[in-house]
Symmetry: C2
Subunit: 641 residues, 2 copies
């Protein structure tokens, strides 16, 4: 196994540090301010009543514990450790004798436990508790939170399973958490329980449909807390136009093995698919049907239902997927949490398949649809990441449903997990992010040190320290945007054959060997599939892993008025003082002269008034960090001016 | 005044004849089948009850009478005349002693007369009765229907006016009809009443708002006839998001003189504006404020809120206008009736201003957004005229709310009214449509005979017969699409100065003088204003007055996949046997090879798979006359393949 990876990277350091020093701090303050921690305290006091916040708010504390644990894994921070101890103790103090833990029900409706698994997120919160506990145990070697998690997991396993309560959660999360718990503890029942929750989904009739039928009885007044009308929400999400149950919102429309397309709420889908991929990795038996289904769903998502930023979920109402090629830019949902979920799923897919397409998609998502979710100063967040704006969409400090900031935070705090991969005798370098790590390959210990210039330049250098010469295969991921990639080992060029997306170099590595890679970046114009109707006649600019956008603040005309022609020469220019250092794409292009249209609504091509303007595009992730105004990723391209 | 114009035109003859022989016949049968005529019979029988159809169905009979009268004006058709006599007698027989006439109220709710002027369309039906009566009187010189109309108009004038009932109609129509009635009878009170209805609109508080407040009382059970819930419909149309009255649906949001933008239901708006322009033409005093308002509204409509086809009304729900530049293609409403209304308004504007832009817009609308409403065989009609289709939008024989087919019918039957114009000593030729007419210019009688090759070729010839040499100015409209227009008089070229849109030729005309005009047509690519976001990167093909579209049936790929480049050579080819004779636009263009995209969703520009295909575009008006399939007016243009 890979030991802890420490990030030391020109691009990511400030983000990781701001996350540690500001976001995780702020997040903790929110746990107090929102009443999240008070809910646990009230449960300990045992008097009942007084719950505050949305019914899944316990998960805020768990996500914070997970992020904080990732920090503690690589840094000694006594004040953070003290806080973690306090929160762990609050959580542990609230747990029921029988292992149950969900402060909403314990305070407000103890008799209603497990009656509305669809909406009330008990299993979802349990999953986040487990993820936090595993991270906490790995970081501290202490077992107090892990004990809480296993006790709750045991309680859940006693209740749920074939022949017992065969209900499934309305929001997936516990599946992947249980696989993590199995990995950490070796206890098979957790893996079996994960398998049960995955396999039990999508049956006909669905237990979720049964809950919906009884929603007034089980979800009436008791759940009408804080203006949340469980019955109405559930009906909106789970009834089709004919008033019949349609479980696709929660991937409950078909057994996972039979699903053809990615459907419903995108975060739910990503968590389910991640859990299934992790389950497959841990399963001894081959489960071709499940693995074929995951590949099929991945193809559907990436080939038909994903923004060029890696963002997913086209639609606000269901926060989720719609139809093939339905990718509106202005009204895109593309939730930050869904980007995080996609990274989780792709990491699990890579561990299962060792296929380069998965770290490639992680790269796309990380630098675009995920990173856009966080402001440059690390303190403001997008929940929704559109690809076009009139200038009225801005990051906020926090949200009542505070899923995105903590999800972004735990990803940044665990970024090291996505850089390297390992299988038998192969060491994978999946992401070019400056870092150091210690790896055990066969019997030998290898120390790696990577310096990288991503995402501004496609150059990186990896140095190896070994006690004695060690033979293993090094697999360097060659990004799909890289043409003429070159690799030098110990100063000598090696041939790059990257048919499967990796340059694979088997060699006996000497102490001090280094690998230099160079992936030339050039300004590219990307075109969308012709069935993405709203992108017809448009291009998106990209360079290396970054998708670009034009913001009003940098341009003499509104982004919608820019017209990029084939003959326009666009150049990448690095500005060290702009937006904490960015490479822009700049050049002279055409633009319609809107004012000169006067009262004309239609004009023959040769009478269209145009002008030459100097345009500047910035990386998509950095938009809305300055004066607000229109923004667009997709820019008109037109020879006719 | 211009005497009756007789059409004899290669393009229009079959349409005018089909309208006369098939549509007007079919329309009559519908009057019986729908129960429309029975409503009049039941009123005569005096027993009450039994009303059938929508509450404005009387207008179907009136529109038919109007169309049939236009036919009788130029043709002697005894069987049609007999039917007209019968219907006139049914209508006359149903009129109340006091002049009131609206079969719904007379049969179902006599005590509720005039209580819901917003929705129940009494004044709207009265307007159509008056229009029919004027046409009938002009065609036959008989006064029986005109007597019914004046008696009803007198009744209305007795009730409505300053200091009396100051209510206004929910659907404009009576305003323009009253001006017509004034023109026909010379009775000033009708002009004054038209002025009252126009001026009384848009007051605060509005009488329509008052009716809405009392809607349950006045519009409850009594009006819930045939599943029409007056209360719900009215609230949907007239309450804004905050539940406050917003009269813009019926142009009742502001006094007409203060309106800045065209708002609400498009047909209502056109009828109001037409009425106002006609009122101004008949008014002795200059009314600058009203005339400035009409110019401003015309600029807003044509420069910001009109499809390239002349269609208006972007949105289905309100059948009307939305925001500037909001012109979606697939979901366009662009009702056939609104196109007819736009022609009415522009004719009235021309009579008021003699500005060439108005007949130019009539030409655009006539050959595109209006004509698309009628199938080639003249028996199927579009209510809605989108500019893009997936192949699931088709013409129908008739509609429950049967406004469009009769409106199309009365326009075709009166097409002659739009060809010529006259003021003092100027004779205008506004449309190039084969026809003959007799005109009185000064003291002399001039006979005109026009032959035209529109819309396929821009050539026409006008011959004059005069008893003695006659001096007048001939003003030939030079279409805005015509470049290098040439005019020859009596075989000699004359210089064409068309700064105001007309070539004006003052001359003493000899018997047998002829004018030959030639407006070369070429294939044009039209571009939409850059703020029409959905047309960015697209062009519409046009030639002469016709806008073109690509239909699936003529092309090897779906219209959405065609990509037209600057270097592509597109040619006009006339096919006499295709679609009753059409000139198509054809040529080799590029097309994305959708199949070759495989699972790719985004590709760099230089990897996009393309092919050369032979494309064919047909005039927009003729779409959906063959096998159904996707259609698009706006086609992608892209240099990048």
């Amino acid at each position: 196994m890979l030991d802890q990876v420490e990030i030391d990277d020109k691009f990511w350091n400030t983000r990781v540090e701001t996350n540690r020093d500001v976001t995780i701090q702020y997040q903790y303050e929110q746990l107090e301010a929102s009443g999240c921690l008070d809910n646990f305290r009230l449960v300990s006091e045992g008097e009942g009543g007084g719950f505050t916040g949305p019914m899944f708010m316990d998960s805020d504390a768990y996500k914070w514990l997970e992020s904080a644990s990732y920090v503690l894994a690589t840094e000694s921070d006594q004040s953070l450790k003290t806080r973690v101890d306090e929160v762990v103790s609050l959580v542990a103090g609230a747990q029921a004798e029988d292992g149950y833990l969900h402060t909403y029900f314990m305070l407000e409706a103890p008799e209603m436990r497990w009656t509305n698994r669809n909406l009330m997120h008990e299993l979802y919160c349990a999953g986040h508790l487990i993820e936090a506990a595993v991270a906490h145990h790995q970081a501290t070697d202490e077992t107090d939170l892990l004990d809480v998690a296993t006790k709750f997991a045991d309680h859940i396993d006693d209740r749920f399973g074939p022949g017992d309560d065969e209900g499934v959660p309305g929001h997936e999360e516990i599946e992947l958490a249980l696989v993590k718990l199995y990995r950490e503890t070796g206890t098979e029942r957790y893996l079996d329980l994960a398998r049960f929750f995955i396999d039990a989904r999508g049956r006909d009739p669905s237990p979720l449909a049964d809950e919906l039928d009884r929603i007034e009885e089980i979800g009436g007044a008791n759940f009408n807390h804080h203006d949340i009308d469980a019955a109405e929400i559930s009906r909106n999400h789970f009834l089709n136009e004919d008033g019949e149950y349609d479980g696709s919102y929660a991937q409950d429309h078909l057994p996972l093995r039979e699903q053809e397309t990615v459907e419903g709420h995108a975060v739910r889908a990503m968590y389910l698919f991640a859990g299934a991929a992790m389950l497959l990795t841990e399963s001894d038996d081959e489960d071709d049907e499940l693995s074929v289904a995951l590949e099929r769903l991945w193809d559907n998502m990436t080939g038909r239902r994903m923004y060029i930023t890696g963002g997913i979920g086209s639609e606000h109402e269901h926060e989720g997927f719609t139809d093939d090629f339905d990718l509106p830019n202005r009204t895109a949902y593309a939730e930050t949490c869904a980007a995080v979920g996609s990274i989780f799923w792709n990491q699990a897919m890579f561990e299962l398949t060792e296929d380069a397409r998965h770290p490639a998609l992680i790269e796309r998502t990380l630098y675009n649809g995920f990173l856009s979710g966080i402001s440059n100063d690390g303190t403001h967040f997008f929940y929704v990441n559109p690809l076009e704006s009139d200038g009225d969409h801005h990051r906020k400090e926090w949200f009542y449903v505070a899923c995105c900031p903590p999800n972004a935070s735990r990803l940044l705090a665990s970024l090291g997990q996505y850089i390297y991969g390992q299988s038998k005798d192969t060491l994978y370098i999946n992401q070019y992010i400056g870092s150091s790590a210690q790896v055990t390959v066969g019997d030998a210990t290898v120390e790696l040190n990577q310096q990288a210039d991503f995402p501004w330049e496609g150059t990186a250098r990896v140095e190896f320290s070994v006690d004695e010469p060690t033979t293993f295969e090094l697999a360097l991921r060659i990004p799909e945007w890289a043409t003429n990639a070159t690799v030098r080992i110990a100063g000598e060029d090696v041939a790059v054959d990257s048919e499967d997306g990796f340059a694979r170099i088997e060699r006996t590595w000497q102490d001090g060997d280094s690998v230099d890679i160079r992936f030339p970046m050039k300004v590219e114009k990307q075109v969308a599939h012709p069935e993405v109707r709203n992108n017809a006649g448009k291009v998106a600019l990209s360079r290396g892993p970054l998708v670009y956008c034009a913001e009003d603040v940098d341009n003499p005309v509104s982004p919608q008025e820019l017209v990029i022609s084939e003959t326009d020469s666009l150049q990448a220019i690095h500005h060290p003082d702009m937006l904490d250092g960015v490479t822009t794409i700049e050049g002279e292009v055409s633009a319609t002269k809107v004012a000169d249209w006067g009262t004309n609504l239609y004009l023959p091509v040769d009478e269209v008034p145009d002008q030459r303007v100097y345009m500047t595009a910035v990386p998509y992730y950095v938009w809305d960090n300055r004066d607000s105004g229109p923004m667009s990723v997709w820019l008109t391209t037109d020879y006719v001016r």
